[in-house]
Every structure is written in structure tokens, then in C-alpha cells.
């Protein structure tokens, strides 16, 4: 039996059941959500063994006729495996963390429904082999995250979510217009089939128009620098586990994954080489500006949000280099960033949980009272700051080496300098929040409940140890197949449809 539909069906089915079960108590819907997430996490780990193959599932058994797909396809290749791992592992620990954290809020049954909808949507985006389904899953994820950002329904949260919705809606409109022109151009919505058709058409102005629409739309979703305005408001306003999901997973799946899939596998980067230059410019801009804006922040979660912009800049910059080593660095940094940024958002949530405060100037000395939160956040900060031998160091090293190798010496220098700034503002976080003198106001602060600690410790271990992914044995089964998919470019069509 093909397991691919389960990644979408289980979260969506659980999302349907939670509102019914929450009549019997919000606790039950929480447990159901956790079970569903746990199951698909197990599935995403189990499926690693197939990372070198391309598995295609045609919904309803509508097999292609003479190599032309007529049904809806779900496609799993090396890149998808990596994205599924990120989504479901981070999703599971964010869900585990929510069990305690969400007791601060009312109506938590609805929270789990929205969370599961978001999970289903995210899995759908990476599995979809069909442009319109990709759009539908993207909208499911987006609508769920709009509501989750405003889950506290305070004035600031509503304002942030409205801003997010207007910019997200504009991005979706751009993407949908792109899909319309794309369909007119190719007469098909299946990505693999369309890739072949475009190869036949060649590069005409309409193809470039579609490319630009997708570039703007997906960059808005990824919050790259000129399109970043919504992120520093939306990510801090959400409940902490949702901030972790949004920064750790959602911008990567809706933005980075879609950009990579469209431009490297469908349009073919060889034909649209201007996109690489755009990636380099947007990436460097986000990297530098995000870091400088983060440096001046006083709000813990807002600083983390600006840091996300900066780190996504690194990822896009690495892909913009256009070399296999660059792809490796970008993907590796994507995985690393998912682990340490979600960890740091969970840490900020732990502080908020005990003190109801996000202003770092009023904090200090929490390490004495909250040893687990303090230690894990130190690990996360050092990893994102690029201290050897933690995970973040290796991915940044690979990116810098790739930049030097492709003769972008100045940009490599900028990447190194940005890394130092990153370390500086994370040391500032550590100094202001977890070290120093404990103020009298917070003498009674205690460590957070055990489930929250479990989530943070696991993610901390991941962010410490992810450097092992570069070891040849692990690299062979996780990173290399994904890099091969991206570097293979237009071979995607051949892999999916055969022949």
C-alpha cells in the first residue's frame, strides 16, 4: 500500500474529529492531535529508507495514458523526504509543548483543529505533484496560520494577523494568476508534465511573466527582504509553539521549498539564470538587513523573528550560488534552522509562560531559576551563532566554502560577517535574559512543566548534533538524494513520469 496520502489524510481526518471530541473535553482533542502527529512523524522517519527513489501516487488510480498524467499525482523524492522530516518532527514537538503551554488560553480544542489543518496543508504542499493542489494546500496552511497568529485575540495579535492576511492574500493572488497563465501556456497542471511542455516552448515572454509572478508570490510567503514586512509582527504574536512552527517550518515550506521546486525542477534554472542572481541579491539583502534589525530589538520574540529573516536569507543565498555544494549548504542550513529556531521560540515561550513578559530589558538571571530553559537556549544560541562543532557552524561553513568556490568572495565575506553579528545578538539575548542578576519581581519563577522541557531538550540535542548529517553514511541517505533532485533539475519530469 502506498503511504503518501496518509501524510495528508491523517492530520486532516484528526482535524475533523477534534472539534467533535472537544465536546467531551479539550484534553481528549489534545491527545488525539498528539497521536496523529506522532504517527505521521514515525511515518516520515520510516520513509527515509526510500529517499533515493521517486514514488508517485495517482489519486483514485488514474494512471497516466501514454506518459501524459490525467489524474492528481502525489510525488515523493529526496527533497520531499527532507521537508517531510522537518515538518513532522518539529510539528510533533511543538504539539507536545502545546499540551502544557496552551493552558494559558481558552478554547484549546479549536487550537488543535487549526494546528492539525496546518500540518495537513504543509505535508500536502511538499507532496503535491500538481500545481493547483499545491496552491490549495498552501491556502489551507495559510488560512490556518492566519487564525493561529491571532489565537489570543488581543489588539496587537489581531493587527498582526490582519497585516499577515493582506500580504499573504496578495501573495496567493499573484500565485493564482501565475497558475492561470501557466495553464494557458502549457495546458496541464501536473508539474512533471508541464516541465516537459515548457522545455518544448522554450523561453518566451509569457514564461518569464509566470516566473516573475511566482518569484514575487513565493518570496512574499518566504518573507525575503523587500517582502518581509509581515513576519516580525506575525511570528511573535502567535502562541510560542505556533511561532516555532511558523519560523521553523511554514516559511520554509511555503516559500523556500516552492521556489526551489518551481525554478530548479519545473522551469529549469539553466533557462532562467536571472533567477539565480535574484536569489543572490534577495538572500544577501535579507541576511544582512535581518541581522542588523535583530541587533536593536528589545522584544525577545521579535528579535527571533528578525533572525529568521536573516537565516532564510542564508538559505536562499546558498541556493542562488547554483552549485551542488551550495544546494547542500542551503538544505543543511534549512534543517539546522528548523531545529534551533523552533527551539529558541519554545524557550521564549517558556519565559513568557512563567513571567508573562517579552521585554528583555526587564529580564535577567533566569538561568538560576529555569536551568533547562537556560541551558537549551544557550545551546540553540551557540548553534545559530555558528560556534564549532555545533550544527549551525557546519552549515554556515559549507555555505561560505560554496560561495568561495563559485568566486563570490565579497558575498562570502558578508556571510561570515553576518554570522558574527548573529552571534552578537544571541549573546545579547543570553546576557539580558538568562544571565545576570535576577530581579526581585521574578524571585518566585520556577522551571516549566515536564512536557515543555522534553520538547526543548530534544530540539536542543538535535541542534547540537545535526552536524552528524555531514558524515558520509547519513549524508548518503538524507542530504545527498535531496541535493541530487535539485541539481538534477529537469530530470524531475523523467523521474516522475518515467521514460
Amino acid at each position: 500500500m502506498n503511504v503518501l496520502p496518509l501524510f495528508v489524510a491523517i492530520p486532516l481526518g484528526a482535524a475533523f474529529l477534534t472539534p467533535i471530541l472537544s465536546k467531551a473535553g479539550n484534553r481528549i482533542s489534545a491527545v488525539l492531535g498528539l497521536c496523529a502527529n506522532g504517527f505521521i512523524m514515525g511515518l516520515s522517519i520510516w520513509i527515509i529508507q526510500y529517499s533515493k527513489d521517486t514514488i508517485v501516487y495517482f489519486a483514485g488510480g488514474w494512471q497516466p495514458i501514454a506518459g501524459i498524467p490525467i489524474g492528481i499525482a502525489m510525488v515523493m523524492d529526496g527533497l520531499t523526504v527532507v521537508m517531510l522530516l522537518i515538518i513532522n518532527v518539529v510539528g510533533f514537538f511543538a504539539m507536545l509543548y502545546s499540551l502544557n503551554y496552551m493552558t494559558r488560553y481558552t478554547e484549546t480544542g479549536k487550537y488543535y483543529t487549526l494546528f492539525l489543518l496546518m500540518m495537513g496543508g504543509l505535508n500536502g504542499v511538499v507532496l503535491s505533484g500538481d500545481l493547483f493542489n499545491l496552491f490549495v494546500f498552501l491556502e489551507i496552511t495559510a488560512i490556518a496560520s492566519y487564525s493561529l497568529v491571532a489565537f489570543g485575540v488581543e489588539a496587537e495579535e489581531l493587527e498582526a494577523s490582519f497585516k499577515y492576511q493582506v500580504l499573504g492574500g496578495t501573495a496567493s493572488a499573484m500565485i493564482l494568476l501565475g497558475i492561470a497563465v501557466f495553464y494557458q501556456l502549457t495546458g496541464t497542471l501536473n508539474l512533471a508534465d508541464a516541465s516537459r511542455v515548457i522545455e518544448g516552448i522554450g523561453l518566451n515572454p509569457a514564461v518569464i511573466f509566470v516566473g516573475i509572478l511566482f518569484l514575487v508570490g513565493f518570496s512574499l510567503k518566504a518573507a525575503l527582504m523587500p517582502f518581509h514586512a509581515w513576519l516580525p509582527d506575525a511570528h511573535p504574536s502567535a502562541p510560542a509553539p505556533i511561532s516555532a512552527m511558523l519560523s521553523g517550518v511554514v516559511i520554509k515550506v511555503l516559500g523556500v521549498y516552492t521556489l526551489i521546486r518551481m525554478f530548479f525542477n519545473i522551469f529549469g534554472i539553466g533557462r532562467m539564470s536571472f533567477v539565480l542572481i535574484v536569489f543572490l541579491i534577495l538572500g544577501t539583502l535579507s541576511m544582512v538587513a535581518g541581522a542588523f534589525l535583530a541587533l536593536s530589538q528589545k522584544d525577545f520574540k521579535r528579535l527571533l523573528a528578525y533572525s529568521s529573516i536573516s537565516q532564510i536569507g542564508y538559505v536562499i543565498f546558498a541556493f542562488g550560488l547554483g552549485t551542488p555544494l551550495g544546494f547542500l549548504g542551503g538544505l543543511f542550513h534549512l534543517i539546522n534552522h528548523a531545529s534551533f529556531k523552533s527551539l529558541l521560540f519554545l524557550n521564549s515561550g517558556a519565559v513568557v509562560y512563567r513571567t508573562d513578559n517579552r521585554d528583555m530589558e526587564k529580564m535577567g538571571g533566569f538561568s538560576q531559576r529555569m536551568p533547562v530553559t537556560g541551558t537549551t537556549s544557550l545551546m540553540g544560541s551557540l548553534s545559530i551563532g555558528g560556534i564549532p562543532p555545533l550544527g549551525g557552524f557546519w552549515s554556515k561553513l559549507v555555505i561560505v566554502i560554496a560561495a568561495v568556490e563559485s568566486h563570490h568572495f565579497i558575498l562570502a565575506g558578508i556571510a561570515v560577517l553576518t554570522s558574527i553579528i548573529t552571534l552578537a545578538y544571541y549573546l545579547k539575548v543570553q546576557k539580558m535574559t538568562f544571565f545576570g542578576k535576577l530581579s526581585d519581581l521574578y524571585k518566585g519563577v520556577k522551571e516549566v512543566p515536564v512536557l515543555m522541557c522534553v520538547s526543548m531538550v530534544t530540539l536542543a540535542i538535535l541542534s547540537l548534533g545535526l552536524g552528524v548529517l555531514l558524515l558520509p553514511q547519513l549524508r548518503n541517505i538524507i542530504l545527498d538524494p535531496a541535493v541530487n533532485v535539485i541539481a538534477g533539475g529537469l530530470d524531475y519530469a523523467k523521474m516522475v513520469l518515467g521514460g
Partner: protein, 114 residues
């Protein structure tokens, strides 16, 4: 050709509204105009001059060219439903924001900074 241009013009009107308008409700309406322009454009793509409805197929025989392409219509239906969801969410948020801030003016809704 002129209808395609008009659909794109409608899209640009919506985009203009989102950028320029200061009232939350007007922003929502602009977003809706943009969405409907795309839906119109999408439906136009599948249209064939003098084409038959795609459900009456037996009279046409093998002459597939005379079909109106049904796929964009199905997609537009889905897009309309998604549009309904986003618009309902946006309007309900606008109402909640009005309760908190007593205004629809985006220049006065500024509690977030930095």
C-alpha cells in the same frame, strides 16, 4: 483579447486599492476584486467561441475542439471557495479590530512597532 486586458485591469485596480486605501474594509474589498479578476481570467482561458458545454458530449463525437475546457471552471470553483474562506476571515478580523481600536483607519491601528 480585450476581455483578457480588462481582467488584468481589474486585477491592477484591486492591487492599487490594497496599496492606497486606508480603510480596513476597503482593503478587504480590494483583495476580493483582485481574487475575482483572477477567477474571471481563469474562466476566460477555458472559453471557446461557440463551444458546447462539456457535459453534452455524445452529439459532438470526436470533435474535441468544440468543447469548453471544463478544467478551469473546476479550478475557479475551488478558488471561489478558498476566496470565501479568506474573505470571511478578513471581515471577521476587521470587526474584532474595530471592537479593540474603535476605528477602521490603518493609520490609527499601530500598536506594533519596530
Amino acid at each position: 483579447m480585450i476581455v483578457y486586458v480588462l481582467a488584468i485591469l481589474l486585477f491592477l485596480i484591486g492591487l492599487y486599492g490594497i496599496v492606497v486605501k486606508r480603510n480596513l474594509i476597503k482593503i478587504v474589498i480590494s483583495l476580493m476584486i483582485m481574487e475575482y479578476a483572477i477567477n474571471l481570467f481563469f474562466a476566460l482561458i477555458g472559453y471557446r467561441e461557440g463551444g458546447a458545454a462539456p457535459i453534452h458530449t455524445e452529439e459532438l463525437g470526436d470533435n474535441m475542439v468544440l468543447f469548453v475546457d471544463p478544467l478551469p471552471q473546476a479550478l475557479v470553483l475551488t478558488a471561489i471557495v478558498i476566496g470565501l474562506g479568506t474573505t470571511a476571515l478578513l471581515v471577521s478580523f476587521a470587526v474584532r479590530i474595530y471592537e479593540k481600536y474603535d476605528t477602521f483607519d490603518v493609520r490609527k491601528i499601530r500598536k506594533l512597532r519596530g
